[in-house]
């Protein structure tokens, strides 16, 4: 525990400043609310909160184990035991669905401000934990922490505008963007703004580069891979996908499909509404599909890969020590093995080494028959099935080709979470596994 005391002494100054910053921020918010006069209760609440933050800040500045505000050991242990890939994914999904369903509640400024403050407070309390701070305060990861908050903010702004517009349209009014459609000139209005932003961002980046130097490492070596070895933050979602797929699929096919799918969007989308203004109610399908693909299948995976994947790409709880010796049982098997060995209790079909080529190929096809049939059914049978059931209206509006493109893109997008679930539940490695030609799915 001696090292923990040293750590707390190190981090005390930062935490003090951190709490003070929260306090000042809330003080300003309270002042603005007070001057506007219509929400005096909230002004009082935020003033009180600011005072509490100041107290926490002074406690943190003491730097002693007894006084630095932190989460209790039991809570941290509970969080660690509860966290795992399954709980993380299910949890974030539930959270996002909750935010979506109760969006009218969450877009209220005071609710959002409260959530923001709670998040900041939890961050502060967690940063008194050595393991948490080590990951979150790593020079690599600081911008990612910032990006998480930034993304949350922008998602909130967009949702708020959409909710406002949806309510207006429910009352028969035009969306707010159509009312204030005042246009400004590119020169000088836009160009000046851009210039000022450019200068400000450059200054900010300079200051950042000086304060948080890039974490350079030893020269690269082909026989030594850092443990854990992580992609750049924006590719960590891809790296997480690669845990469940063969490189050609997760590294080539799926990313290309993302690009082609985005290119195909204007041709697939037959909904003319929502052009030039924010709305959710008028484009629910498009909105949900995009947010699922972006927030769920990309952003949460980036957060998972950045903060929760440690040595040997094992999963670590937020307060867990990143031990390279952590043992996790992750044994998995291919579908043919499950089918032939598990179900029929007989060895995999194997052609003799000296048999002619057509026998060899036939044997491989027989071996992979269950997987091939399953994949074929998924991609060939499901689209027409969906056309006559859940997507009946879409099929009628889109016509055969557009509908098939849309359905296949959706199914391929869904193959990622499906494969993840199969890995977690039945330890399935590959549905089709033909290592002879490096084709695995």
């Amino acid at each position: 525990m001696h090292s923990n005391e040293l750590f707390l002494k190190d981090v005390a100054g930062f935490l003090g400043g951190y709490y003070a910053a929260i306090a000042i921020m809330n003080g300003i918010a309270a002042l603005i609310l007070w001057q506007r006069k219509h929400q005096p209760v909230w002004a009082v609440i935020w003033t009180t909160f600011a005072c509490v933050m100041m107290v926490l800040g002074s406690l943190a500045l003491s730097g002693s184990e007894a006084t630095v505000p932190s989460l209790p050991e039991s809570v941290r242990n509970l969080v660690n035991t509860l966290s795992g890939p399954v709980n993380y994914t299910v949890g974030t999904t539930v959270l996002l669905v909750g935010f979506f369903v109760y969006r009218k509640f969450f877009v209220q400024p005071m609710v959002a401000w409260s959530l923001f403050n709670v998040a900041l407070l939890l961050m502060g309390l967690s940063m008194a934990d050595q393991n948490f701070a080590l990951i979150v305060m790593k020079a690599d990861n600081v911008p990612i922490v910032g990006l998480v908050f930034l993304l949350a903010f922008f998602t909130w702004v967009a949702t708020k505008q959409a909710v406002v517009n949806d309510e207006r349209m429910l009352r028969g009014e035009p969306p707010i963007e159509k009312v204030n459609d005042e246009k400004v000139l590119v020169w000088p209005d836009l160009v000046y703004t851009e210039l000022i932003c450019m200068i400000a961002v450059t200054a900010f980046l300079l200051a950042w580069a000086i304060l948080l130097p890039a974490p350079l490492e030893e020269p690269a070596s082909s026989v030594k891979t850092p443990n854990p070895s992580k992609a750049p933050w924006y590719f960590l979602g891809l790296q997480e996908m690669l845990v469940y797929f063969d490189p050609w699929y997760a590294g080539v096919v799926l990313p290309s499909l993302v690009i082609f799918g985005l290119m195909a969007l204007p041709y697939i989308d037959f909904n003319k509404k929502g052009n030039g203004y924010y709305t959710i109610a008028e484009r629910k399908f498009a909105y949900l599909t995009f947010q699922f693909g972006f927030l769920e299948l990309w952003i949460t995976l980036i957060i998972l890969g950045t903060f929760l994947r440690g040595p040997n790409w094992n999963f670590f709880g937020p307060f867990e020590y990143w031990s390279p010796y952590k043992v996790e049982v992750l044994n998995n098997v291919d579908l043919p093995q499950m089918f032939w060995i598990g179900l029929f209790d007989r060895p995999l079909p194997l052609a003799a080494a000296d048999s002619p080529w057509y026998v060899q190929i036939g044997t491989i096809l027989l071996r992979e028959a269950p997987g091939l049939i399953l994949v074929g059914a998924y991609l060939v049978l499901l689209p027409p099935l969906m056309a006559v059931t859940i997507f009946r209206r879409y099929y009628a509006k889109m016509g055969l080709i557009r509908y098939m493109v849309m359905a296949n893109l959706m199914l391929l997008m869904l193959s990622l979470p499906l494969k993840m679930i199969l890995r977690w539940t039945v330890n399935l490695k590959y549905i089709v596994s033909i290592p002879e030609i490096s084709l695995n799915f």
Binding site: T225, N227, F245, D246, P247, W313, V327, V329, N332, P435
Partner: protein, 372 residues
């Protein structure tokens, strides 16, 4: 036309009204022009700026389009066009010009000239008349823009040639400045001008000298370039076959059999050679074999974890048993083996030039292991 209307905006509306939408500003500007608003510039400047604007248009089309506009200037000034009414568009101006030119075409180019002359006193028309000599040609030319452009590009000069133009077309076009001065006022009979021929000859000479000089410079330059390029290619080819290879040999000795007791994974060759030498059982037979340290998923280097008796990849968590067979994570096939044999002096020798893949049944090859 945007040029003209923008000028109007600058004069009238921009100053006092700042936050109007672009569409509103344009509409206001047009309305003002049409009504001949008090703050708008004098009416004559309109065709002027039209011609001016047209003169600014892009390269190949510019002279011909301007030529088409030149007659348009007087045309706009004539009462035939409603002066106070809406401003004529380019298309209308051009149509008018063509109609006029077509009407005058039978009477040769001579009548076309006074028309241009009538416009001459105005400074605007004078500006446009820089291109005037080409104007009469319009009469006999094809009517649509595409063919006009095509003709311009082809350098064809069809149609009748006026007297004023005759020397111009005879002379090289490099001397428009000389022609520009007499263009505005009535042309007096020209005195014999010996200078042009002289100047022309001089220019020809100068150009000839330049072309020869430039040609030879270019010739020298490109010859030098090709020679150095050839030398560079030779140097590059030489570079591909260096005197000394810094990479370790693909065949190397790792020691005697006794150095690899049963169950041992020797990791000391990883840093230099990228190979694990393992003494272990594979399918019930004790063997010594050399495993390649490249993960079969995406090519990272796994680590040997002694406590867990497995190879574990740090990139995506693939795991391999001691015999190299994959069992966890995304790796689709076992690690590969290098060829290994007992050399003449009794030491084990690994040959990295050959690999053996389990899924292809190559581990049965006696070259892929040494019986312990």
């Amino acid at each position: 036309m945007t040029h003209a209307s923008r000028a109007g905006v600058k004069v009238s509306s921009m100053a006092d009204r700042k936050k109007m939408s672009v569409a509103e500003i344009l509409a206001a500007a047009r309305a003002q022009k049409a009504g001949g608003g008090e703050s708008s510039p004098p009416a004559e400047s309109e065709p002027a700026s039209a011609a001016d604007n047209a003169a600014e248009t892009t390269a190949a089309a510019s002279s011909e389009v301007a030529a088409a506009e030149a007659p348009a200037a007087p045309a706009a000034a004539t009462p035939a066009v409603a002066k106070g009414g809406a401003r004529p568009s380019v298309a209308e101006i051009m149509k008018l010009a063509r109609q006029k030119a077509a009407a005058e075409a039978p009477a040769e180019a001579a009548p076309a000239k006074p028309a241009a002359k009538a416009a001459a006193p105005k400074p605007a028309a004078a500006k446009a008349s820089g291109d005037k000599p080409a104007a009469p040609k319009m009469a006999a030319m094809p009517r649509d823009t595409a063919s006009i452009l095509a003709a311009a590009r082809a350098g064809a000069k069809p149609g009748p040639v006026s007297k004023a133009d005759a020397p111009a077309s005879a002379k090289p076009q490099a001397k428009p400045a000389a022609k520009e001065k007499p263009a505005g006022r009535p042309v007096p009979p020209k005195p014999t001008r010996p200078t042009p021929t002289l100047k022309k000859a001089a220019a020809e000479d100068r150009r000839g000298f330049l072309s020869v000089a430039m040609g030879s410079f270019m010739a020298v330059g490109f010859s030098a370039l090709s020679v150095t390029g050839g030398l560079f290619s030779l140097g590059l080819a030489r570079f591909l076959f260096p005197n000394v290879l810094a990479e370790p040999p693909s065949r190397f000795k790792v020691g005697f059999k006794e150095a690899f007791p049963t169950g041992k994974v020797e990791t000391k060759f990883v840093a230099q050679y990228g190979v694990w030498v393992v003494n272990s059982e594979f399918q019930g037979v004790e063997q010594i074999y050399a495993l390649k340290t490249v993960c079969t998923h995406l090519g990272c280097t796994p680590n040997w974890l002694e406590a867990e008796q497995k190879f574990k990849c740090p990139c995506h968590g693939s795991g391999f048993y001691k015999d190299g067979v994959n069992f966890e994570g995304p790796a689709p096939r076992p690690l590969e083996r290098y060829a290994i044999n007992v050399s003449d002096d009794g030491q084990l020798e690994v040959d990295k030039s050959r690999t053996f893949q389990e899924e292809l049944g190559q581990w049965a090859d006696p070259a892929s292991f040494v019986t312990a």
